[in-house]
Amino acid sequence: MQLLISVLEQGFIYAILALGVYITYKILDFPDLSVDSSFPLGAAVTACLITKGVNPYITLPVSFFAGALAGLATGIIHVKFHIRDLLSGIITMTVLYSINLHISGGVANVPIFSNENIFSAFPLADKLGKFNTVFVVFLIAVFAKLLLDAYLKTKSGYLLRAAGDNATVVTSLAKDSGTVKIIGLVIANALVSLSGCVMCNQQRFFDISMGTGTIVIGLASVIIGTNLFKRLTFMKATTAAIIGSVIYKACVAIAISMGLKSMDMKLITGILFLIILVAGQFGGKGKND
């Protein structure tokens, strides 16, 4: 039971990240590596604010906004300076590492165990008991998903989808496809940073290395979700990404419960991702994409 709750907690936290990665990877076809640093950016901002005694709920919008700035940086580097997508992300990722350390006060690890967080401050915390965390995390993930779904149905959202699908159409509509791409990266990294914020609240510390391999987790979640449910046309891709994230975390948990140590975490992360990619190739056959 405890294992299940922990899987769901982790799964829903990374689901918020998966929503962001869904925008860059699936909609814009942009391999955005800045994710690896915008995730800990959200956590750094959160730890910084919480240690200063700010209301923990303020950490959510502030991290979201901080992530948006990170996305803006990647977008401008790519679109305005004409740097390749992969390199733009790497530049932001590298620069943010130092910025994250500045935000955290120059230390690689900030514990906030004794401070109030979004879970302990939740009004129903006492009633929900051990389900409190998973409930709050679920609320945030679903809220983020519904907001993203609603956005993708607006005119601006249509343009974002068009930019990834066929940028020529965006240009023909007399719109700058570069600007649209930047907007996509802003929203994506804002979500990723929000995910980092919730993670920091949940694990009650910030660690500078917590972002390593985040992009892999995000990609794995999106790919599992969209591949598994691609025949179910009624299911939204955003829902699929959330479920994909939970499944992925479950796989990792199973691997660890089978005797692998936590230091093998990234090993499992990487190998699982490889398995998913390879399996996706076989599963994808016979289906026109």
Binding site: Y151, K153, K155, L159, N166, T168, V170, T171, L173
Partner: protein
């Protein structure tokens, strides 16, 4: 009105493949013109369209659209007044969006793409009506992804989408070349209807000599970056494919092939 004045354009400057395509090229496109442009590969037809739309920069000269020098204007801004249909039917539509979503986007061209609903419900009957004019039954497939349509259907949609918003100029870049003869006929007839109905100033690049003679009021033959033939009115009406072919052959002989 579009005016090209003293255009110079060289490809691959400073390399062994340097090709000076346009040298002091000038052309006036009057309001209401429907120009068919023919010419062999590499004669500069598509380059001319790309220069007008801003897809490629010019080395020197002026491009004036409706009295404004657009040389510094970015490509996407020029499309406010220009609609363009490409040779590849995949270029004009978004494959992973539905027919309805594609129509709604085209309908909103020139307006703000903000946070209002992408597909205004009130407009759906209008989109259906427009689609029914194509006679392809697309009005009953509103929620089908455009990627699942055939090339001809997609091209018909691209043409429709281009002409939904108030534009002044229509640029057709061999837009029937990738279609089978029958579909090409249909698309061409549709093009002619739209051009007449909206009074669009049109430039159509084509390899189909019959189309070039049948449609439009003016015909230009390009060769090595020059308009070697520019006929309109009666003169165009009296021209035949044999005349055009004879001219083609003459050019080829001069080039020594």
């Amino acid at each position: 009105m579009i005016e090209l004045k003293n255009i110079y354009k060289t490809y691959g400057r400073g390399t062994v493949n340097e090709l000076s395509l346009f040298e002091n090229f000038s052309l006036s496109i009057n309001d209401g013109d429907f120009i068919s442009v023919v010419g062999s590969n590499g004669s500069g037809k598509t380059s001319m369209l790309n220069m007008i739309c801003g897809s490629i920069p010019i080395d020197s000269g002026e491009i004036i659209i409706n009295g404004t020098d657009v040389n510094k204007m970015k490509e996407f801004r020029r499309y406010r007044k220009i609609g363009r249909v490409y040779q590849n039917p995949a270029m004009g539509t978004c494959p992973s969006m539905t027919i309805l979503e594609n129509m709604a986007m085209a309908d909103n061209k020139g307006k703000l793409f903000g946070l209002t609903p992408g597909t205004p419900k009130k407009r759906i009957p209008y989109y259906k009506e427009l689609l029914s004019t194509l006679g392809l039954g697309l009005e009953n497939k509103l929620n089908v992804l455009v990627g699942q349509l055939s090339g001809g259907q997609r091209q018909a949609m691209a043409l429709l989408m281009t002409s939904m918003s108030p534009i002044d100029f229509l640029i057709l870049d061999e837009h029937t070349a990738a279609l089978d003869p029958k579909t090409a006929e249909t698309i061409m007839r549709l093009t002619d209807e739209i051009v007449k109905e909206k009074g669009l100033t049109t430039i159509m690049v084509t390899h189909n000599l019959l189309f070039s003679l049948e449609y439009g009021n003016r015909l230009i033959m390009m060769h090595e970056g020059e308009a070697i033939l520019d006929i309109s009115g009666e003169e165009k009406k009296n021209a035949s494919t044999d005349d055009l072919l004879a001219l083609f052959n003459k050019i080829s002989l001069e080039r020594g092939n």
